[in-house]
């Protein structure tokens, strides 16, 4: 009997420890998610202004399309796969990596962000060109090398299409794996969503601008900023998704651990009480025979 209760006590203790850890991870994930969301929010005015300028300039430069805007027959596709560094975030990576199957192995190259993405691509023997390590809430400077890398590949004709595969953040409970075509730029987006068209008033206001040195050159210089910012927004989105998925996963783990503790405690008390009852029974039986 004594052995049994000791075992249960030990199990309760270890489950309680686990619950404590998962609870802590849950709270950390919550804080990190807020941080990533805040970053994405902070970047909005920048993205909005960039878009406003781009949409209007592109209407004023008819001469020749900038190379980044030119669609061409797709022979090779480059996919930027935005995974996570750590696990324990539910089915997030599994769901995302399932989407990789839609890309033909022979004509697709990959760029990985996050260690899980690297592992996955290595395991499935895909062509991995580069991987970029990234912190939990990356700042803009960390994204720039990735943006430059993909633009260089595109401009050098080594990729005819660049797709970003990431987990879009809908809300804390819902994250959707989504593939967004970043290059060529056929339509201006903001964080993977089409820009809502502005009214004529804004259009009028923009059309009076004089461009220095020229509209074409300003556009050429703006596009890399646009690509960088799009990528930045999407990666922040993926990070917010990761953290919220982890938060939910850890919350479930904590709840499960607490249920387990409850069950174990109940069982422990039952055994304890049974033991006491037997003991009393023994004593009273002994007394009766004595008496």
């Amino acid at each position: 009997m004594g052995n049994n209760t000791r075992d249960i006590r030990r199990r309760i203790k270890s489950v309680r420890n686990t619950a404590q850890i998962t609870k802590a991870m849950q709270m950390i994930a919550a804080a990190k998610m807020r941080k990533a969301q805040q970053r994405a929010l902070d970047a909005r005015p920048y993205a909005q202004m960039l878009n406003r300028i781009l949409v209007s300039i592109s209407k004023h430069t008819e001469d020749e399309l900038h190379p980044l805007l030119q669609a061409r027959p797709v022979k090779r596709t480059l996919v930027v796969l935005v995974g996570t560094d750590k696990g324990l975030c539910g089915g997030l990576n599994t769901n995302l990596f399932r989407e990789v199957q839609q890309f033909d192995a022979a004509s697709t190259d990959f760029v990985a962000v996050g260690r899980k993405a690297v592992d996955f691509l290595a395991r499935t023997k895909r062509s991995l060109l580069a991987d970029f390590p990234m912190r939990d809430t990356p700042d803009y400077a960390e994204i720039k090398p990735v943006a430059h890398f993909i633009m260089d590949r595109f401009l050098a004709d080594e990729a005819d299409r660049v797709v970003v595969l990431y987990t879009d953040f809908v809300n804390t409970l819902t994250q959707v794996p989504s593939a967004h075509e970043l290059l060529p730029i056929t339509e201006f987006h903001m964080g993977g969503k089409p820009v809502e068209q502005k009214g004529d008033a804004a259009e009028e206001e923009m059309s009076v601008f004089k461009y220095e040195p020229s509209a074409g050159e300003v556009l050429g210089a703006l596009l890399p900023f646009y690509v960088g910012n799009e990528l930045y927004t999407m990666i922040l989105n993926a990070r917010a998704s990761e953290q919220s998925a982890r938060m939910v996963a850890m919350k479930n783990a904590t709840d499960n651990a607490n249920t387990l503790i409850k069950d174990l405690t109940l069982e422990y008390n039952k055994i304890r009480q049974a033991a006491i009852t037997t003991e009393i029974l023994e004593i009273s039986t002994a007394q009766m025979t004595m008496g």
């Binding site: 970053r39 902070d42 970047a43 005015p45 920048y46 202004m49 960039l50 300028i53 300039i57 700042d139 803009y140 400077a141 720039k144 090398p145 430059h148 890398f149 260089d152 206001e205 009076v208 601008f209 004089k210 461009y211 220095e212 040195p213 050159e217 300003v218 210089a221 703006l222 900023f225 910012n229 930045y232």
Partner: protein, 138 residues
């Protein structure tokens, strides 16, 4: 009183400055320009250099990275990835960063074009920062 221009700096980390000013001097790719209220509408490119902001008789100096400026008669919006106030520039660390970048560029053979380009960009920004700091030390 109407003779002010609304000035804002927008960067990926948020709107870092938004205020009414008297004059701003900007380093554009085609030379420095001074922007006063009622300026003609212009959209121009900025290169790393010094930006001078005058508001209420006080003058502020900032180092600024590549970016864009959108000017309308009543509004000046700057889109950039970097802007640092002169007081926040740490001369020693910037000088060291420049040295490091130059050393890395010197044996550029083992660098990819990509790395070299990003180093050069960073170098230009750092040199701009240092230039601003030294000029305004007096």
């Amino acid at each position: 009183m109407a003779n002010k221009i609304h000035f804002e700096i927008v960067s990926p980390s948020g709107v870092s400055r938004s205020l009414d000013v008297d004059m701003v001097v900007l380093p554009t790719t085609s030379g420095e320009i001074g922007v006063l209220p009622n300026h003609e509408p212009i959209m121009t490119m900025l290169e790393p250099g010094e930006m001078v902001v005058t508001a209420d008789g006080r003058t502020e100096y900032c180092a600024i990275g590549e970016g864009f400026a959108q000017i309308t008669p009543g509004r000046l919006s700057i889109l950039t990835e970097m802007v640092v106030k002169v007081g926040d520039i740490d001369e020693d660390s910037v000088a060291k960063a420049i040295e490091r970048a130059q050393a890395a560029l010197a044996n550029a053979a083992h660098l990819s074009d990509e790395e070299a380009a990003s180093l050069e960009g960073g170098l230009k920004r750092n040199i701009a920062m240092l230039g601003v700091k030294r000029r305004r030390r007096a």
